[in-house]
């Protein structure tokens, strides 16, 4: 019963991270939504996504194993600084901030909010694709991005949608 409940609660989250979400959202809100999701709206959206991940860590012990001894400080933002969110992993926990943090391990700067959305809605959130498209500038240790990429897909995998 509990596992059914968990699946039910968590099911929507990975959709934000997989290819299905593009189709899903497009169907629901039509393409115009993507355009409206600029500026402040994107900011909240990004934060929402990170909080979704945070919630998953909170709810799933198996998933929490990913961050047991993991320390890492991530800063996601757009070049114009309109959108920014940070994720801090420490002591087996994840913390999501709306602000720009200074001592990041990795800073991911999207060219603009469209580039950020393109990344989030892309088929496999491959940061290398975004770098090749010149949509993103990455500063710092790339391995943190790879680790983050795994955690995103691990969530999808654990819920059987990946």
């Amino acid at each position: 019963m509990r596992s059914i409940l968990k699946r039910f609660l968590l099911r929507p989250i990975p959709y934000f991270f997989t290819d299905i979400v593009g189709v899903y959202i497009a169907r629901l809100f039509s393409r115009s939504l993507k355009k409206e999701l600029s500026g402040k709206a994107t900011d909240e959206f990004l934060e929402l996504l990170l909080r979704g991940m945070d919630l998953a860590f909170y709810l799933s012990k198996g998933y929490r194993k990913n961050i047991r001894d993991f320390e890492g400080r991530y800063l996601f933002k757009t070049a114009d600084n309109l959108v920014a969110a940070s994720a801090i992993f420490k002591d087996g926990d994840m913390e999501v901030l709306e602000d720009v943090i200074d001592d990041w391990d990795i800073m991911i700067t999207f060219k603009d909010s469209e580039a950020l959305l393109a990344y989030i809605f892309s088929k496999d959130q491959d940061i290398l694709d975004s770098i090749l498209a010149n949509d993103v500038e990455v500063e710092g240790n790339l391995n943190y991005i790879y680790k983050f990429g795994f955690m995103v897909r691990d969530l999808a995998h654990k819920l059987g949608v990946g």
Partner: protein
């Protein structure tokens, strides 16, 4: 006593020998099997680093590393026979079982066809894909859930701060903080991570060289250990003592690994009921308990020594162009002895070589998906060299050369990448004819190297004639003296069209946007009044790039020196054993580094177009030309047509002296700019022109160019002229053959596409041979002659069909630019590049018989 190499066989084609049952079966399962990720090595290495506190150390010594590798060698499971693998299924891969009976035990990974991971280098880039990698569209790898978990929880986390890239980044941070007071400042790494300017291979490997196995074969590792111990006692220097101890450690590890295989074979034999198989296992047990510890007594033992040492080298380093050298030289004595004493037949020799070739290809490199999209389809590019002259200048083509050619012809494999040396002379034309014939029959191999031109190029760079004559081919096409040359020949892969881009846009790059000054300003081209001014600006940008790329390479090299000593590779090199010094510390006899240039023809033709159209004829202004480039020639069709017309705009490869002179100017500029730079081992940089698949990858990222090429189209490969500039093959060949080889010392790849015909085979061969001879010829010293040439001989229709039906064409072998690849593994952009290459005919192209009718008298 060395036996004199000679050709005793009558039929050079060895046509009557076919694949044996054993090899056919092995080859069949080899092509069926999908690669599987192997976590054995990373698991043992990570544990060792953790337990020995190596992650916390400020630097890692050669002895630390030697102990780590000995640990891997001794702990890894000795596998004599694989029994299962995975194959393509409907939805996902499915397991299949087989019973292989190879003649060599051991494998580079724990899998039948493995993907070895090196978390020290770039393995972590696969992290996000671990759950999906077995399902990805291009080149998927199998991995079990348990292996994913082990990598995710136990292996990868340790390397987040400790792989070569991040250690180098930290080093940049530290140095730039000291120099400029800037925090987290790493412009060197940043330039690399823009991915459009250049690639560096040091974050990925220590590779691209040729070890020498002759000592291991002739004396055995035990003798080398004895020698090393003596050297250790004789020296008073601690660093040397440490070096020699490290060498003993790894050699002991290699011996143990082989003995473990022997024990496993014996165990299997005791359970085996089939007397034939039992005998085979006992043979393996006997051989592996003897070599590589002691001198090889037979041809098969010699091959086993090479194979076991080759495995060991893989446990130290990823194979990116690690090459085996002149195997027909190294093994000749054993071969001749066995044949003369009737211990070996030619059929058995071919079977042994076939089995070794399959073993050599028992692993594939790990590439992240985005990398596949740009640069995919590569094997490890393990080159083997046959033929050519020896140190004394004597032609040493032998029976064994032909045995290896026959095995290659029968197997048609991507790895090893066979390279044939040819020393031009009247009496060796039968050999060249046979090389051409194997090319027709395999469609893509071997690549042909012109001994006279290559030796001249190497001597020009300061090697002795003896060293130069004993060159082997590394990776794709790069020449280097066997066991003496540590020349990391693929250290830098420079996209030369970026130098052009930075010139055209005054230090900016359209890919990264006009707001960002990437390099340095070289002037607004629209204000230039002469072509010389433009060339000066191009030179400035090129030199800036050379400065940046060599600087970063040196930073990365120093990180290798501090964290990645290489005891195993050093054990098989002449210099380190003499000097008591690791290869990466400059232990080799020859210590150069190599750069290769992508986009030569496109850049040279762009320069020629600017020279003719903008400055000489003033047919368009520079401002208009830039506008045309910006709009990708939309609305500028007239100009584009003009720029692309070889009759009106000079093109390299069309025997146009202005265009060819621009090519020479560029290769001389690059040779000088790189040649002036010192590397971290005290050697100089050398420049070559081979592009693997990078001309397609970089092409995809770059916008329109002044030679009329539109945005995102492929660049031309290697040193090859742009497709379509001339329908006449000899013109293209002459333009290449007159380039100064002294400036091409890191090798060239000239890609030629022939259309196979069902015509008169002998006539086709006549023309094939004559084309190669004419291209290699130095025209009585008027030119250097072409250094290298390689072929694709497959019909246009077959290529087009292979795009649509990859499964039917899974063995279709092609030359990319340098190495060989399976066509189906290439990404669509690269497939298109091969399809679009100019096709030349080997005969008249008419299948009809033109034979005259005799008239009655």
């Amino acid at each position: 006593m060395d036996k004199e190499q000679q050709v005793a066989i009558r039929d050079l084609s060895l046509e009557k020998y076919d694949l044996t049952k054993r090899v056919s079966y092995l080859k069949d399962i080899y092509f069926r099997a999908m690669p599987e990720i192997c976590i054995e090595r990373p698991r043992i290495i990570t544990k060792f680093h953790e337990n020995s506190g190596l992650f916390k150390k400020k630097s890692i010594t050669i002895l630390d590393k030697a102990r780590a590798y000995r640990d891997v060698l001794e702990r890894r499971t000795p596998i004599v026979r694989h029994s299962c693998s995975y194959e393509k299924g409907v939805k996902k891969m499915k397991r299949f079982k087989f019973k292989e009976a190879p003649l060599f035990a051991g494998s580079t990974t724990s899998k039948f066809k493995g993907v070895p991971l090196y978390p020290e280098f770039l393995a972590l880039a696969l992290w996000p894909e671990l759950w999906t990698i077995s399902k990805r569209a291009s080149n998927p790898f199998h991995i079990t859930d348990n292996e994913v978990k082990k990598l995710n929880y136990e292996i990868f986390p340790h390397w987040i701060e400790n792989n070569i890239t991040e250690l180098a980044r930290k080093r940049c941070y530290e140095e730039n903080l000291k120099k400029y007071g800037l925090n987290k400042h790493d412009p060197e790494m940043k330039l690399l991570e823009r991915l459009v300017i250049f690639l560096a291979s040091k974050p990925n490997c220590i590779s691209h060289t040729i070890p020498d196995f002759s000592k291991a074969i002739k004396q055995g590792l035990r003798q080398i250990i004895k020698d090393v111990k003596k050297k250790k006692e004789e020296t008073s220097e601690d660093s040397k003592k440490e070096f020699y101890t490290a060498i003993s450690e790894v050699l002991e590890g290699i011996i143990t690994y082989s003995k473990n295989l022997a024990a496993e074979a014996e165990k299997l034999a005791s359970k085996e009921r089939d007397p034939v198989l039992k005998k085979e296992l006992l043979d393996i047990a006997e051989i592996n308990s003897h070599v590589p510890e002691y001198p090889a007594r037979t041809f098969r033992e010699g091959l086993t020594t090479i194979w076991i040492c080759w495995i060991a080298i893989h446990l130290e380093n990823p194979n990116v162009g690690l090459s085996l050298g002149r195997l027909d030289q190294v093994l000749y004595n054993l071969y001749r002895n066995d044949i003369d004493t009737n211990k070996l037949t030619i059929e058995q020799a071919i079977e042994l070589i076939c089995c070794l070739w399959l073993k050599i290809g028992d692993h594939v490199p790990a590439i992240p998906d985005a990398g596949e999209q740009l640069f995919g389809g590569s094997g490890s590019n393990q080159a083997i060299t046959i033929g050519g002259v020896d140190k004394n200048g004597k032609d040493v083509v032998s029976d064994l050369t032909y045995v290896m050619l026959r095995a290659t012809e029968l197997m048609k494999l991507r790895d090893p990448n066979l390279n044939a040396r040819y020393y031009q002379s009247e009496k060796s034309r039968d050999y060249l004819r046979r090389l051409c014939e194997v090319n027709i029959n395999t469609g893509a191999t071997p690549a042909l190297h012109n001994d006279k031109a290559v030796i001249k190029a190497l001597v020009h760079k300061g090697e002795t004639v003896e060293q130069a004559r004993d060159y082997g081919v590394i990776g794709c096409v790069e020449p280097g003296s066997n066991g003496r040359f540590y020349g990391h020949t693929a250290a830098i892969l420079l996209n030369l069209t970026s130098a052009l881009e930075l010139t055209l846009f005054n230090g900016r790059h359209r890919h990264t946007g006009m707001d960002l000054l990437i390099s340095t300003e070289s002037g607004d081209v629209t204000t230039f009044t002469t072509f010389e001014e433009f060339k000066a600006a191009f030179e400035k940008q090129t030199r800036w790039l050379v400065e940046q790329t060599t600087n970063l390479n040196n930073i990365l090299g120093r990180i290798h020196q501090d964290f990645y000593p290489t005891p195993i590779l050093s054990a098989f090199f002449e210099g380190p054993m003499k000097k008591g010094k690791d290869l990466i510390q400059g232990g080799a006899m020859i210590n150069s580094s190599g750069a290769t240039i992508i986009g030569l023809a496109d850049v040279a033709d762009s320069l020629s177009a600017i020279q003719r159209v903008v400055f000489e004829e003033r047919a368009t202004s520079f401002a208009d030309l830039l506008q045309a480039l910006e709009s990708n020639f939309e609305g500028y069709e007239f100009l584009q047509k003009r720029l692309m017309n070889p009759d009106k705009t000079p093109k390299y490869g069309n025997e146009n002296s202005a265009a060819d002179a621009n090519v020479s100017w560029i290769v001389e500029l690059l040779d000088k700019a790189f040649g002036e730079k010192m590397n971290y081992r005290g050697g100089h940089y050398r420049v070559g022109y081979w592009t693997m698949t990078n001309h397609a990858g970089f092409g995809r990222l770059m916008k329109a160019l002044p030679n009329g090429r539109k945005a995102h189209e492929n660049f031309t490969s290697g040193i090859t002229p742009v497709s379509g500039v001339t329908p006449y093959l000899t013109k293209a060949l002459n333009s290449v053959a007159k380039q100064p080889v002294g400036c091409l010392s890191n090798g060239i790849a000239l890609n030629l596409k022939y259309t196979p015909e069902h015509g008169n085979k002998e006539k086709m061969l006549d023309n094939f041979v004559a084309s190669v001879e004419g291209y290699f010829d130095d025209a009585n010293g008027e030119r250097d002659g072409g250094m290298e040439i390689q072929f694709n001989i497959t019909t246009h229709d077959d290529f087009v069909n292979a795009v649509a039906n990859p499964e039917i064409y899974k063995e279709l072998l092609v030359r990319v630019s340098g190495y060989t690849a399976y066509f189906k593994d290439l990404n669509p952009q690269m497939q298109k590049e091969i399809i679009d290459r100019t096709e030349y005919l080997l005969s008249t192209g008419k299948a009809r018989d033109f034979a005259p009718f005799p008239l009655p008298k």
